[in-house]
Amino acid sequence: MPSPSSISSPIHALTSQVLTKIRSRRSVLRELADHIEDHSSTLRERGVEPTEARAQAVRAFGDARTVAAQVERIRNQGSWPDVAMSAFPSLFVAILFVSNRWLELEWIVGTAAVAMIVSVLGVYRFGRRAWVFSWLGYALFPILLISMVSLGSTAHAAWSVLSGGYEARDPLSWILGIGLGVAGLVIIVALMAWLSRKDWIHAMLVVLPMALLSVAILAFDRGVYTTIEQAQAQNAVLFGAFAIVVAAAVRMTDRLFKIGLLAASLPLGFLLISGGIDIGLRIIVTAALLIPALLLIIAPYVVTLREPDTDERLEHSAWPR
């Protein structure tokens, strides 16, 4: 168990990802080593002398390191259909901004509904494919938005009451406000905790669209943009660029590069749309941008690797040397 003081260390988060990468490689190597051991064992049972059995098993397997490299590439690299499906929702949101549909309720609700349906069908039909999580981020955003608005309005009402002002609210409004706000947050936090245990990259693919949409709405709400046209153009560029980032991350083979690229996308996106923003808002938005980074730091402490002790097994495996 790591010390509490190290929880704030980004270096530890990075180290954990390095370890995950190493463990993933070892998992592949161990699987191949097991195969050679199984074949060798079968030959020994047939009366072949142990050294010769192992040599025959290694020859029958072929170039194990080339096979391991192929497997690693397959495990980490998304196919081109995966890449296209991952980038599609962000591109579609960029098109909503370009076509001036982003303030029309039917388009917003329709987009969220389609994202939800595609996410659910995607999980059912294709399992945990990277592109499914890219859609899930957009599907969950309405839940986050409703939760934030409910908590925000309830907090505002509470503040009015506490500061002596009058707040015309019946008890049901209070219950609904708190209930919706807390329920939404619980759903999202529980899902993120589960996803981060499975795969950080999938968790980031879900978090980032929600964070970018939050930033875009916050910037619009606080009057960062001087004209509607400016808001459209900047957000279209933001989500278009994010679509490229997601596509590149899904196609990359190295986990750390994937994570680095995805983690950098939010601050880069902020830079893209922060021209003319006042310093107070910059601080608020920067704090919002830190959410994915905080998740990265916290995730290693909720992740439980259920793999066996790879070091010990590899030491005693029949891995060809």
Binding site: L32, H39, I74, F126, R313
Partner: protein, 110 residues
């Protein structure tokens, strides 16, 4: 078309068909393919794993480490719902294809 090329196009279906019966680990799959084909399908053993991991990446099978009946820890593969659907599709395609080829080559009628 050589036997090697024929095998290359059929490995996914062979693996899916075997895994639709029960979860198996890599070496077990290879031996089972050889046994059931009476040694006809014999591949370079290392080529099995890129194929299995590609099927897993595509959501057709799922890999999970677990203990075998013999007490060894092995990475087992089980077919997914999507894999079952793909297998059914491949079965129909194969039956149609083999029936058509058979009719042309042997002159038999359906």
């Amino acid at each position: 078309m050589s036997e090697r090329e024929l095998l290359k196009g059929s490995t996914d279906s062979l693996f899916l068909a075997l895994l639709s019966e029960r979860p198996m680990y890599g070496y077990e799959i290879l031996r089972e393919v050889e046994r059931r084909s009476d040694g006809y399908f014999s591949m370079k053993e290392g080529t099995l794993y890129p194929a299995l991991h590609r099927l897993e990446r595509d959501g057709l099978i799922e890999g999970l480490w677990r203990t075998s009946p013999g007490g060894q820890y092995r990475r087992y593969y089980a077919i997914s719902n999507h894999g079952l659907q793909r297998l059914e599709q491949r079965r129909v395609e194969w039956l149609n294809f083999s029936r058509a080829v058979n009719m042309v080559i042997t002159g038999s009628t359906p």
